[in-house]
Subunit: 359 residues, 2 copies
Amino acid sequence: MNDKNATPISQLGEFGLIRHLTQDIKLTNSTSYRGVGDDCAVIEPQSGYRQLVTTDILMEGIHFDLSYTPLKHLGYKAAVVNISDVCAMMGLPQQLLVSLAVDKRFSVEDVDQIYSGIRLACDRYGVDLVGGDTSSSLTGLVISPTCIGQAQADKIVYRSGARDTDLICVSGNLGAAYMGLQLLEREKHVYDQQVHKGVSSVTAQPDFSGHEYILERQLKPEARLDIVHRLKKADIQPTSMMDISDGLSSELLHICKQSQTGCLIYEDRIPIDLQTAAMAEQFNISPTTCALNGGEDYELLFTVSLADYDKVKQLEDIRIIGRIQKAQYGCELETSSGQDFPLEAQGWQAMSETPDKSS
Amino acid sequence: MNDKNATPISQLGEFGLIRHLTQDIKLTNSTSYRGVGDDCAVIEPQSGYRQLVTTDILMEGIHFDLSYTPLKHLGYKAAVVNISDVCAMMGLPQQLLVSLAVDKRFSVEDVDQIYSGIRLACDRYGVDLVGGDTSSSLTGLVISPTCIGQAQADKIVYRSGARDTDLICVSGNLGAAYMGLQLLEREKHVYDQQVHKGVSSVTAQPDFSGHEYILERQLKPEARLDIVHRLKKADIQPTSMMDISDGLSSELLHICKQSQTGCLIYEDRIPIDLQTAAMAEQFNISPTTCALNGGEDYELLFTVSLADYDKVKQLEDIRIIGRIQKAQYGCELETSSGQDFPLEAQGWQAMSETPDKSS
């Protein structure tokens, strides 16, 4: 963003920029009838399918910090976060629209970087970029993606379908993105202090070796479309599902509230990566707390009928962490030492008084 | 926004605010299967229909100025601007999702005002509010609406369908929203100067009497869904269509470029309201310039086959302003004095160097 040879956006104008960004986009899904270039994108729904639609808004300083977030990664993440919501209903993502507002710090090349990340995510997830809006901003970068997916009516999984005795499952591992964020914030702080003291900004470069995994989980998360496919292939129809963006605790409480059930999960069943646990130790935080209350994992949380136990336990990268119980028994965590504690929603809140998402 | 009794958003938190804003929303369209409350909204497409999807981003300081824009009007306008894009393809708007980012100046009551405007527009246009996202902002208000509509495949009208000898039509009248904006900007300037000089802010209140129409066109525009219905009822299938958000000139050039045609329009056929013309005279601008290059009219610009002349000329609030011609004859305006000038796209550009949309 500080390249003096960069092309100012004003040189292209709004229409020129849109043309520049979208001229070589191709549509690959049969449901994408018409993409960028008219008042609306046109979608041809497949007969017998329902459409899933979700929108997000990512604000600079709230959801991302450009001092340590490469623009391409940011574009990728903005798309993935949105695509993840379609996966979270067992849908197949099909189209993406992206609204973007950039201020004067941004050059055409910067916007290209953001778009290259968005398009990489589209390629990766088989999604067509079919529209959007581009605007200037007086104050910071805003990205608002909208994803459209499809699923057969009887295959869509809602948050409200969990039933007593269902097994609670999660994909991948939890808390890694949160620890990645803590590490980035700490190193930013150290860097700022060193540069402030007169240390050369080259000497002050942080060393992230050995922490690549948690950094990648924070900076370049993935949507678990692979898990959706794996469940379909194994003929498992989850009874409820959502993606974990605000921490396991918060999401599980959503499912239990909407399903009118309780739940019991076991601390020692919660999947946590070694890098996450090591970093949590450095920060003197319990890894379980990271998994319960850290955000941005974008793993899938879902419940399956007890009858699916044999099928689900064989699936790679899926862990059974507990079970649904009657609402009267509450929503509880059984610790490794055998004590039960009620789950609380302390997840990251984008609307909290302090905009720092690490709080 | 300055009420000391107002409820801080932090008192409700993100989930509380979303619940507060969405708890009493009802779905009215048969295509709206599931609204707010899950990872995605679920839409049940009507068999044989295509879906139209469009998204916008409205930035404080670029698209609106809160010093003279009531929040309820702003919410209404944000929805209408987006709904208008669905109308512009002869679609029927069905669902709306709204992403909103607010900074610390905003109370729960302020967000209620914005939402009441959005919901009023939804009621007015038969649209269901089915989803969105809510975030805090470090720097100003952002609204990003996404509208979904539907139309039968063979009834969708694109920008690219205009043919030689087609008639060019516009709904309503043009330039009013632009003159409304000029008036508001002027009065804001006068007000600021007077208050700066020590005049009481009560005494300094501007007098807008006699200008109500142009102010309403700027602050509370409408999407011309009525025109869509009127055309359908008259069994007129336009050959091309778009809505006029950046001025007649710019939009007509879009249609001609995408249709590979030229056009000829007549200055004395361009519909301009008396209040627009009077205000233009005060500002020493030609009313035609307002119509050609002023933005935010949200009227419909469309072309119809010459064979529809008898049908279209009888339609209320629609004016034939010229005709499509072969590309080699260019895109021209014939003035009242009989001179021909090439049309130029000088419309408002949201990406221009200066963020002032009045420039």
